[in-house]
Each structure stands twice: as C-alpha cells, then as structure tokens.
Subunit: 235 residues, 2 copies
Amino acid sequence: MARPSLPAVICRDCALYHTARVLGLESPDCSQLDAMVIRNRPVARGEALYAAGDPVRYLYLVHSGACILHDGRDPQQVTGFFLPGEIVGFEDLDAEIHGFSAHALQAGSLCLLDLTGLDQLPAERLIGVQRYLLKAAAAHARLLQRERLITGLPSAEQRIAAFLLGLAKRFQAHGLPSNSFRLPMSREEIASYLGLAPETVIRTLKKLAGRGLVSVRARQIQIHDPSALERLLAA
Amino acid sequence: MARPSLPAVICRDCALYHTARVLGLESPDCSQLDAMVIRNRPVARGEALYAAGDPVRYLYLVHSGACILHDGRDPQQVTGFFLPGEIVGFEDLDAEIHGFSAHALQAGSLCLLDLTGLDQLPAERLIGVQRYLLKAAAAHARLLQRERLITGLPSAEQRIAAFLLGLAKRFQAHGLPSNSFRLPMSREEIASYLGLAPETVIRTLKKLAGRGLVSVRARQIQIHDPSALERLLAA
DNA sequence: CGAGATGTTGACGACCCTCAAGTGCAGTGG
DNA sequence: CCACTGCACTTGAGGGTCGTCAACATCTCG
C-alpha cells in the first residue's frame, strides 16, 4: 500500500458490480464472484493488459489506477484513457485477436471478466449478463462519441478545457472527487490524445491557470471554475 | 428512382441481416422480417432519424444513402458519419432519451430494429440477438477508436488522407466500390468532423489531387494511389 | 544519491484559420 | 427551355496559433 489514498471505485460503483449481480452473485462486497471474474488483480505501472496481436479473452474493469489505449504503430498514437469504474476491451470484443494495445498508467488493480466462460452460463443468467454488457458497450460508445467532440474542437485552449471537464465528469460518474484529481497520464500522452504538441499542452494549462480557472501543480489538477471552462467551449 | 446507381448494400452484407438470421428469420432476401424490423423505410435528404431529447426506440441500419451524427449544440459539431451497412444509435442504446441527433445526408433507405420488442422474444432467440448486437456494438466501438486516430493526426494533410482511406475501407467492408465513391457530406461537415476549417479541407484535397494521389470532382472521389496515402500517415 | 525520464521555457517559422470576394451547380418558377 | 436564386464550393491575402527545436529545470525511481 504505497499510496493509501489512490482513488478507487467502491464495488457499488464498479461497472462489473452490476455484471456480478446479474450473474446471480448478489453480494455487495463482491466477495462471492466465481471463476469467470478475477477480482482485484494488481497491475504494475506500465504493465500490458494486452498488445495488438494477442488473442482476446477478457474484459478489464479498472478498479484503481488508470489505463491507456493506443494503436500498435510507431510512433504510438493514444486512443483513449480508462479511469476507475470503466471497462477496457470493448473495441476488440468481436475479434479473435486484439487490434489495439492497452497498458496500465499507474500501479492499480483490475477486475477481469473471462469472455470464454460466458457461453457456459445457464440461459437465464446469460440473458442478464448480455443485456448488461450491451448497455455497458453502448455507454462506452457514448463516451467515445463525447470524447470525439473534444479532439474536433478548433483551438488548443478549448480542447484542454474540454479534456479536463471530461475527466472531471468521468471521475464524478464513479463517485470520485471531480474538482481535484491527479492526472494519470503524462503531458505527452495528453498531447497525443488531443492531437497537440506536448509544449502546447503545457502552455495552455499554464494559461488557464493564469486566469484562475484551474490550478496545476505537476499532475495534480484543481478545477476552480467549471462553468467558466464550459463557457470556453460554447465560443 | 431518381438515382438508380445509389450505392446500397445487398442484404447479405447488411449488418441487420445477421440480426434477422439470429431472430430465426433465415430468408436471405430479408422478405420475412416480422414486426420488430421495419424494412427499407425510405428517408428524405435531411430527414431526422432522431434529435437530442427524443425517446430511444430504434436502432437504424443504413441500407442506402448515408447519415450524420452530431451533438445538439450550436454551432453543431459533427461526431460521425454512417455509411450503408452501418448501424446508427448505439451511442444512446442504454439511455431513455437520445443525447445526440442523427439526420440523413441523402435520400436513401433504412432498416429499423425496434428495441422495445426485444424482451418479448423467446430466450433462445433473445440470446442470439443479444450476442449479435453485442458484437455489432463492439465493432462500432472499434470503428470509433480507429476514426478517433484520424482527428488526432497533427497535419491537415494526414487527416484528410486518413479520412479518405477510412471511408474507402468502410465502403469495401460492405461490398461497395472503395476506390471511387461519392462523398455523402459537404466540405463543411468534413471540416467539422476533422476539426479543420472548410477552406483547409478544400485546399488539402486539391493538394492531394495535384500530386496525383486522388481525383476530386465536386463530391466524386477517386483514390489512385492508396499506398501513397498510407505512407503519408506513417510520417 | 545519482541518472534518466518528464516537464518547462523561449525563439522562430510554418501551417492553418479568418475574412472577404467570386464561381459553379441545382433546384425553382416563369 | 431558360433565367433566377440560393447554397455549396473555390480562391486569395493576411495574421494568429501552434509546432519545432534546443536548452534547462524538476521529478521519480533505482
């Protein structure tokens, strides 16, 4: 426990908790999950969940820490970030092998859902699990569409503002503090995600801080005036 | 039939065809779909499939024509395009009301899957339909991740090249000609989608045409040298 | 404590956005 | 059939934003 204060979702807010429920495992503390779900598996900083070319086997729920998704090319281009409570792996769910690569950005823990076990469930439960996974996949699609809007914004300032607001909303959605958080990713990874140069990310953050909208100290972010950030996007 | 040559998927390549199959409706010409699927409903150019705030009821499969997705704000920001064979509506599938708006870009036809009828299916069929929809949602998530890479590219030239290649790949995936096609969207919509100014889209297309990589005549596109376009992205 | 990664700052130039005027095409009505 | 009207598209000039490069500071981890 090097970081006792590492943000983590409680099981109630964990996306797989509901899966556990529909699996017929009602225990709210997630203590009775069977072989299909691997609970709270620790991951080290930088550890790969999967790489492009690996066979597809699991969905990964981030319990604490954070993960990053990128294409397998060179130079790597960042496609997405996953925060506590979110599910990694939908983008390759229908394929035999992975088309993207996913890594842990920090030490943390994941819950894994073994996809190969699904078909052996009794029909009643399978229907519930599938219904839940379909909704989770839809929620993920919605997140991707929303995040897509960010990269399409014309100026670096708008993109950074929208990026911070998006993170805040996602933290909040899973019961984590949303106006004060630690960025799990580097400036360079933010830059790649937003289609900017790392220096532009730095300068834009400083510019927003200079206006009092946010505070930035290393990776620690405080959002002082969310509505002012919102207003930047409308313009 | 004003445009007899309007590109349309044949039912075999239609994403809902497989849904029809798992529904137990094996007819390859889609002639026996029951009340849950509305077949080949015509849509006029500019007609709304749904607007932000509308209740969620259907998934929409594009049979011919094309659709556009955008947020409901002002100015509207384009979030996605949907080509024949692709499914519109996943992003709001888990919600009560729509968070985005979808319109037809051209006159065409759609197949609609009524989501409210799903739960009344017998268990055996429901499992199959859900499994198929989950895979389709995953494929959609993958498409969104891939398209996301495009907007993250640093230069307008790379974004346009990747955009054209992405369209070509998607046409090809559903059995339509991939090196010669008609853009269903305006320059301005492309610009909004890619985070560029419309003028930049025009100039960049002209620049690519000047090098002989593509031909552009109004909305008619011919890709002469796909591998040269690919090479632009690697740099 | 040291070494390497990560972050920061400044100067300069290219790219792209803005604004404005002009062209072509499509659908409409005479 | 042809002019008309509106919209999409095109083209040009100029300025601002952001990318590039290089040097330095700071942080993190072994």
